[in-house]
């Protein structure tokens, strides 16, 4: 008697997830247009409700995150900012005060008051304070002590440790460099040997792992790529194989997986889509022969205003998106310089399926009652809420070569009501807040 084909663990798990996801998509496709419209809505009020409640009070089950409270602040505050909202003065002051109590006397921030300073919680605290914005928040960061802290975390191998005698990996490298970059304390001592270390973490698959030899992974790939761009050594990496690996992480569910042959997860919407956009913009910058910089935004406000009026009309007429590509080729041959180009030249076709990705987030990850989750059957949490929203923003802005250009209606699944604030891809901070912070920390120098 013939043996029935047996499925491996990977196949079985994948099959179960596909069932859940396609069940949701089939229900959506079979629904009338009003139901579909409702299902795609972000549900801003419910989202804000969930976020504000978390900021104000968390239940005892959050004790497992007692060493991660700056993360909770960042995940929640950043999500609120993505939705285009802000917190009231009282909450803002409470947040600044609380984070101040997490700051160590020797620099850096710990997971809670009195805890050892840690690079990840420092990254979260700095990002949270930048997201709050304003003089009080920004001046509360002790830059001199932070510099000392980062130097203490630097390892002779070129990488960084998470805390005193802590683990060393690509995440530590990214958090350190992101912090230093925003606070304007990045220097040769910090970047020394770092490019070589991160390169050694790029695997045979093309993605980047946590440590040399470790499997290519979405989170570490984001960290490694962003860090390399910030220290201006991105060309050390094999960008072709990185791009190839990243685009293959989008599966039939239309969301992204973290590693080859693993399951889709809403948080990878950010960790994988951001590298795709970063890489595409890098390639596009190279094509136009403009020198790249760590501040990716290229266009000036003046250019944007000048071209905005009639270019919108041009685009409405143009059905054929291939016209974008033609323009790219013209530019490459004609050596047209990017910052004087028309609106069309500020657009590109994202290498991943952006609308498909948005569909996964809005139909499979979003909880109508507020919050986002990894995948169907999983519970919501603030981490996934943050990275699903962040990834959604990246997806909505994926057609744009820079952060200053606004998306078109057709770029946004669920249309303009679903539009989120654009983020700075290298730090995952809302652009307006990032710009304010740069003004503050670079003007100070």
């Amino acid at each position: 008697m013939e043996e029935p084909p047996s499925f491996t663990v990977s196949q079985r798990e994948q099959f179960l997830v596909e069932n859940d996801v396609f069940g949701i998509y089939n229900y959506f496709d079979a629904s009338d247009i009003f139901t579909q419209k409702y299902l795609l809505e972000i549900q801003r009020d419910k989202q804000l409700d969930y976020l504000m409640k978390g900021l104000r009070q968390l239940g005892p089950q959050f004790s497992s995150l007692d060493a991660n409270r700056p993360w909770l602040c960042y995940w929640i505050l950043h999500s609120i900012a993505l939705l285009g909202e802000s917190v009231d003065d009282e909450l803002e002051n409470n947040a600044i005060d609380f984070l101040g109590r997490c700051q160590g006397s020797d620099g850096g921030y710990g997971g809670g008051p009195g805890q050892l300073p840690h690079l990840a919680t420092t990254y979260a605290a700095v990002n949270a304070l930048v997201t709050l914005g304003g003089h009080k928040a920004l001046s509360s960061i002790n830059r001199e002590k932070m510099s000392c802290f980062l130097r203490r975390m630097k390892d002779t191998s070129g990488g960084f440790r998470m805390h005193d005698m802590g683990e060393m990996d690509v995440r530590a490298c990214y958090t350190a460099i992101s912090i230093a970059s925003i606070l304007n304390i990045l220097d040769d001592e910090l970047t020394q040997g770092l490019g070589v270390y991160i390169l050694s973490c790029q695997t045979y698959e093309g993605g980047i792992g946590g440590e040399p030899g470790s499997e290519a992974h979405g989170g570490y790939t984001y960290c490694g790529l962003a860090a390399m761009i910030l220290i201006n050594e991105v060309n050390r990496l094999n960008l072709d194989s990185l791009m190839n690996w990243a685009v293959h992480r989008q599966g039939v569910e239309m969301g992204f997986q973290g590693r080859t042959n693993k399951l889709v997860d809403g948080c990878y919407t950010f960790w994988q889509a951001a590298p795709c956009v970063l890489l595409q913009r890098l390639y596009s910058t190279n094509d136009h022969e403009v020198h790249g910089s760590s501040h990716i935004s290229q266009a000036t406000d003046k250019d944007h205003e000048e071209h905005h009026a009639h270019d919108e009309d041009d685009l409405e007429d143009s059905d054929d998106d291939d016209s974008d590509e033609d323009n790219d080729e013209d530019s490459a041959n004609g050596h047209r310089i990017h910052h004087t180009s028309t609106y069309i030249n500020r657009r590109m076709q994202p290498v991943f399926d952006s609308l498909g990705l948005q569909r996964y987030v809005l139909l499979c990850s979003k909880i109508p009652d507020g919050g986002f989750r990894d995948k169907p059957r999983k519970p919501r949490d603030f981490y996934h809420t943050c990275y699903c929203l962040s990834g959604l923003s990246v997806a909505q802005h994926a057609w744009l070569k820079d952060e200053d250009t606004p998306p078109l209606t057709r770029d946004i699944l669920g249309s303009y009501p679903n539009l989120l604030e654009p983020v700075h891809l290298l730090h995952n901070i809302v652009m307006d807040q990032y710009n304010e912070a740069i003004e503050f920390f670079f003007r100070a120098a």
């Binding site: 663990v9 497992s64 007692d66 909770l72 802590g166 045979y204 791009m243 042959n261 790219d328």
Partner: protein
């Protein structure tokens, strides 16, 4: 009882001399956690001994109680290491302690970093034990990221390479889609001091991988691994007939996904492979479209149809193909 963990610390005579230190949350903290009484009290006592830097046996026991309540508290793990050193505590017992904590949740960075710290101090003698420990964790979750990192660290720092390739094979037999096992295989063939290195292993590995590909042509892991076997040796990659053969073999089948065979062929062409008539015929057989004179461009067109999720990526690849790469 003094050591009875169910008795609140404030009622244990052992701790009578210590004044617990409350958390400096401030008057109106954000993200405040409604700690259970036991949690709050334990943390208050931990804070007290942490700030007085007391590295005693009772401090060690307290860190254990604290970690049971929140194994993610890296400050406690850090302090525990300081106490272990000060007391010159038995590190073999410490390995057992970590295993007990891991039973409840193995997915925490701190636990694995602590394990690495202990194992490093104990040295090559514990190589076998560490391999056994990670094997147990991997038997529950064959893709556990921290376990694999620890296993890799163990091999390079403590040794034990002898059975590693066999272990990879064992895992791949159970699940050929286990990308972590393929990744480990690459680690072994490139770094094991007992094997000859990538080039020496290439022939046998290519044969192994091709078998896996032919059994499951939709398995991305095996295709990526195949390409990796020729890392930094473009000449061999495009001239080794078994590589283009496996592509042609898969393309001739009607019952399977062609995407990886096509993209591998595309990479070969872009790297300088001169397509034979067999290549051209094989690709054209799949083309609904007008055949392009440039085979690589035709492959991209077909990929756009066969792998529609990445249609834009294949279009982008197409735009990068210059006439020279024909």
């Amino acid at each position: 009882m003094d050591f009875d963990e169910t008795v609140p610390l404030s009622q244990r005579s052992e701790w009578a001399d210590v004044v617990p230190l409350t958390q400096d949350d401030g008057p109106n903290p954000v993200v405040p956690i409604a700690y259970k009484e036991e949690f709050r009290e334990t943390m208050d006592y931990f804070r007290a001994i942490y700030f007085s830097d007391e590295r005693s046996p009772r401090a060690l026991r307290l860190t254990e109680e604290t970690l049971r309540l929140n194994s993610g508290n890296y400050t406690v793990w850090h302090f525990r290491r300081l106490v272990l050193e000060a007391l010159n505590h038995d590190l073999f017992e410490e390995l057992e302690f970590i295993e007990r904590i891991a039973e409840d949740n193995s997915k925490n960075y701190q636990l694995w970093h602590h394990r690495r710290w202990v194992a490093e101090k104990l040295g090559p003698d514990v190589a076998g034990r560490e391999l056994e420990f990670t094997r147990r964790v991997l038997s529950l979750d064959a893709k556990h990221y921290h376990a694999w990192s620890h296993r890799q660290w163990t091999l390079r720092a403590l040794g034990g390479w002898e059975d590693e390739l066999d272990y990879c094979h064992e895992l791949l037999e159970a699940d050929v889609f286990n990308n972590s096992a393929w990744n480990q295989r690459y680690y072994v063939i490139t770094r094991s001091p007992l094997l000859g290195g990538l080039e020496a292993m290439r022939e046998s590995e290519v044969s192994y991988t091709i078998k896996a590909i032919l059994t499951n042509p939709a398995n991305e892991s095996s295709w990526r691994y195949l390409k990796a076997l020729y890392k930094d040796d473009k000449e061999s990659w495009i001239s080794d007939s078994s590589v283009s053969s496996v592509c042609l073999n898969v393309l001739s089948r009607t019952d399977c996904f062609h995407g990886f065979a096509l993209s591998t062929l595309l990479d070969l062409l872009c790297d300088g492979l001169r397509p034979t008539n067999e290549h051209k015929d094989s690709v054209r057989a799949l083309a609904n479209e007008e055949p392009d004179n440039n085979l690589a461009i035709l492959v991209c067109t077909i990929l756009g149809r066969v792998d529609p999720i990445r249609a834009n990526y294949w279009a982008w690849r197409k735009s990068k193909i210059t006439v020279a790469a024909m």
